[in-house]
Symmetry: C2
Subunit: 151 residues, 2 copies
């Protein structure tokens, strides 16, 4: 990837490149707040009910886990791209519960770049692990980015 101030176009990316995206600290307050707003189920929003349940405590909503990943991905990767928009997800698995107190760490790999007229489909695979090295999220997604303008 280049080091100048231009955004990264499709032609600047290389299949197989991996990049560390940074870490994310999960607080109980945020698990409860996100859950109440977007996914109000006891496993995300009721500590006492969650404590006696399947996971022995609160776990983050799957959408919250995706949002945490997006925040590091957006800040440390997508913001550098000549991005047009997100297009979708090929596959996403929630492999291990995300709990308050976890420190999560994401890495992205460029899986494919399909050039089309003026734009390209960029497929990336992101792996997010917790402080024990357990993978919590594995997601292959597709975004549309611009090709380098003809000079």
């Amino acid at each position: 990837m280049s080091n100048n101030n231009c955004p990264l176009y499709a032609e600047d990316l290389e299949v197989g490149t991996r990049r560390h995206l940074g870490t994310y600290e999960v607080s109980e307050e945020e698990v409860l707040e996100f859950g109440r707003r977007w996914d109000d189920l006891p496993i995300h929003t009721c500590p006492s009910e969650a404590a006696s349940g399947q996971f022995g405590g609160l776990i983050a909503s799957g959408v919250h886990t995706m949002a945490m990943n997006q925040s590091v991905m957006s800040r440390h990767f997508i913001s550098r791209l000549a991005i047009i928009a997100g297009k979708g997800i090929r596959e996403m698995t929630l492999d291990h519960p995300v709990r308050p107190g976890d420190t999560l760490s994401s890495d992205v790999e460029i899986v494919s770049i399909e050039l089309r007229d003026g734009r390209a489909d960029l497929t990336t695979r992101v792996s997010m692990v917790n402080q024990e090295g357990q993978q919590v999220l594995d997601m292959t997604g597709v975004s549309v980015i611009r090709r380098r303008p003809q000079s």
Copy 2:
């Protein structure tokens, strides 16, 4: 689906059932707020930059669109199930931009129920459309739910 006060177990669900999940009003304030917190790109967070860009205005983050869908899905469907946890997404496409002022409407269909020991994998497909009937999100996801306890 039954009408008593028990949660719906795997045995209470039927493949092919469709259910309307309700509607969601998208405000500009929320698009900006969610974007700043989770996906801080100009297309979600800078009205003037977005106005001169690809979509002629702000569009909601893909994760925000998923969260909006989750809020109606959680309230009107998942909260009635004997849910254990979300497991993943088989496929998700963002088919049309979500814009401030949109009224979105989601429907869910039960695609498959795979029974295992004590639990089941429940695969659902959700379609979210805007006020013009344009599909904005199409998502096939898998959750784990409990089977009916043996009496």
